[in-house]
């Protein structure tokens, strides 16, 4: 029997582009970006994640919350860590998981993205986890899915990576508690980093004391100060009195020629070594969203050292993604076909 979906009417030009993340009752339905969430929703996600992180510490790391639901990973861009943690999160919620490698799929055979979506929807999918090289891709998909389907953005172009920023905030909160007195520095390729943008939104929403970005001029976007950050080009100056250091990956695949003299030069000036780490507070946390280029962004002894929480970020990512999936599925309760 053919499945018929009644699609919501979407205004051509929505007055609030982030309103699409919520349903008519104000429940979180999609997670596309940190913008528009506000501190209450961010805090609720982090609080919910606390419960799920405790589940991942048990022998049986599974709860029956999403039994019977289907989560589809739509990864148009290669990813190991993010796709794996989304997959694990869904499985630990007892959902069925479908991984689609769209680099070799129907979209390459000429089938349009929307046709692909329709076909997957007809397979009774409840959630799409989307990673795409184009900014706004998850948003586009969210505007066209059936009413009972949620969309989670797992990274789109240079734009946004909300779950990474949320898990980073979760990790900071677990170690430092209140954000208000903290100085946080984001270091490296700010210009091409969707993670950095999302981190700025989440940390400023949580009222972080001071947010700094440290990078060469060529790797800082114009008008970045409008996102509520102080810009530094010198590591010693930028790391002074900092509580949290977030190193970023050099996005070589997105870089135009000439932005960096060399990786060796970048490491000499901006790579986090033990010597540079000493310029921050003695108990400063070291973070990296991964995958880290050792000897380019970070020294191995720092990445593996006592102040590093890099592996903890990965573990926390599962709990945070479980929280986001559960909350978005909550919005779609009782509407599965």
């Amino acid at each position: 029997m053919a499945v018929k979906f009644v699609r919501p009417k979407i205004p051509k030009f929505a007055p609030d582009p982030w309103a699409i993340q919520f349903d008519e009752q104000g429940h979180l339905r999609h997670l596309l970006t940190i913008e528009g969430l506000g501190p209450q929703w961010i805090t609720r996600i982090l609080d919910t994640a606390e419960g799920f992180v405790s589940v991942t510490d048990r022998e049986i790391k599974k709860v029956p919350l999403l039994r019977g639901r289907t989560v589809v990973n739509l990864f148009f861009e290669s990813s190991t860590r993010t796709r794996t943690t989304f997959e694990l999160a869904a499985k630990r919620l007892s959902a069925d998981v479908l991984n689609l490698n769209l680099a070799t799929s129907a979209t390459k055979k000429g089938e349009s993205l929307l046709d692909t979506l329709r076909n997957i929807e007809a397979m009774q999918a409840d959630m799409f986890v989307v990673r795409h090289e184009q900014s706004g891709a998850a948003h586009f998909i969210a505007r066209h899915v059936a009413p009972h389907v949620s969309v989670l953005n797992a990274g789109d172009g240079w734009h946004s990576h909300p779950t990474q920023a949320l898990l980073d905030a979760f990790t900071i909160r677990r170690h430092k508690g209140d954000f208000t007195p903290l100085r946080v520095a984001i270091v490296g390729d700010i210009r091409h980093s969707r993670v950095a943008r999302s981190q700025m939104h989440v940390l400023n929403s949580l009222n972080v004391g001071e947010l700094r970005v440290i990078a060469p001029r060529t790797l800082i976007p114009t008008d970045v100060e409008k996102l509520g950050v102080r810009v530094f080009h010198d590591m010693r100056e930028g790391l002074k009195d900092v509580d949290v250091i977030i190193m970023l990956r050099l996005q070589r695949e997105r870089m135009e020629a000439g932005l960096l003299p060399s990786e060796e030069e970048f490491y000499r000036l901006y790579g986090l070594t033990e010597e540079k780490l000493a310029w921050a507070k003695p108990d400063a946390m070291v973070m990296h969203p991964g995958p880290a280029n050792r000897g380019v962004e970070i020294e191995s002894s720092v990445a593996d050292g006592p102040q590093s929480v890099i592996l903890e970020q990965v573990s926390n990512g599962i709990g945070v993604r479980m929280a986001v999936m559960s909350l978005c599925m909550s919005a779609n309760r009782g509407e599965t076909t």
Partner: protein, 173 residues
């Protein structure tokens, strides 16, 4: 119409509950039991029993939010606190504690969660108030008070300090 005269005060109900458990422990029915409360009211009752019975092991706390069977209709509870069960439950006797036993669905969810921590030797159920309206074949081993209530009546337990209970009409709540 709200009625309060039929409900035992919390302190009396806890005293009765403690006496029943103590009696059964003397008979050797329970060996070195762990006390586990169901969030939130059950944890308050469990805490009182834990102190009264002088248990050496830490009190366990279960938040059954992730095990509820009404997620598809009610969604996720707005406040989720982690479960806390720091002692290995494998082969152990467990006293599972809740404030009110009504439909049995909460207890079922709690047992499901307990089995994700391990395989207890025995689970016994202690509740402050056991009322009618069961929807699952679950019964308390010990109850501070058993009541038959009207279809519109509910028991509300507030706490933790002081812990109080009252009957309310669901039409009013």
């Amino acid at each position: 119409m709200t009625q309060t005269d039929r409900l035992l005060p919390v302190n009396e109900a806890i005293d009765r509950l403690e006496a029943q458990i103590r009696s059964d422990r003397q008979d050797g029915a329970l060996v070195d039991p762990l006390i586990v409360g169901i969030h939130t009211g059950g944890v308050w009752v469990a805490d009182a029993l834990h102190r009264a019975l002088g248990c050496s092991e830490p009190l366990g706390r279960l938040n059954i939010t992730f095990y509820r069977d009404d997620f598809n209709t009610l969604g996720l509870h707005p406040q989720v606190s982690p479960s806390d069960l720091s002692v290995d439950v494998d082969g152990r006797d467990i006293i599972l504690v809740d404030d009110v036993l009504f439909t049995g669905r909460t207890v079922r969810a709690a047992m499901n969660e307990l089995f994700d921590y391990g395989r207890p030797r025995r689970i016994a159920l202690a509740v402050l108030y056991q009322r009618d309206g069961r929807e699952l074949p679950i019964c308390a081993d010990w109850a501070g008070q058993e009541l038959n209530l009207g279809p519109d009546e509910q028991i509300h337990v507030d706490g933790p300090d002081p812990m109080t209970a009252r009957l309310v009409s669901s039409k009013e709540s």
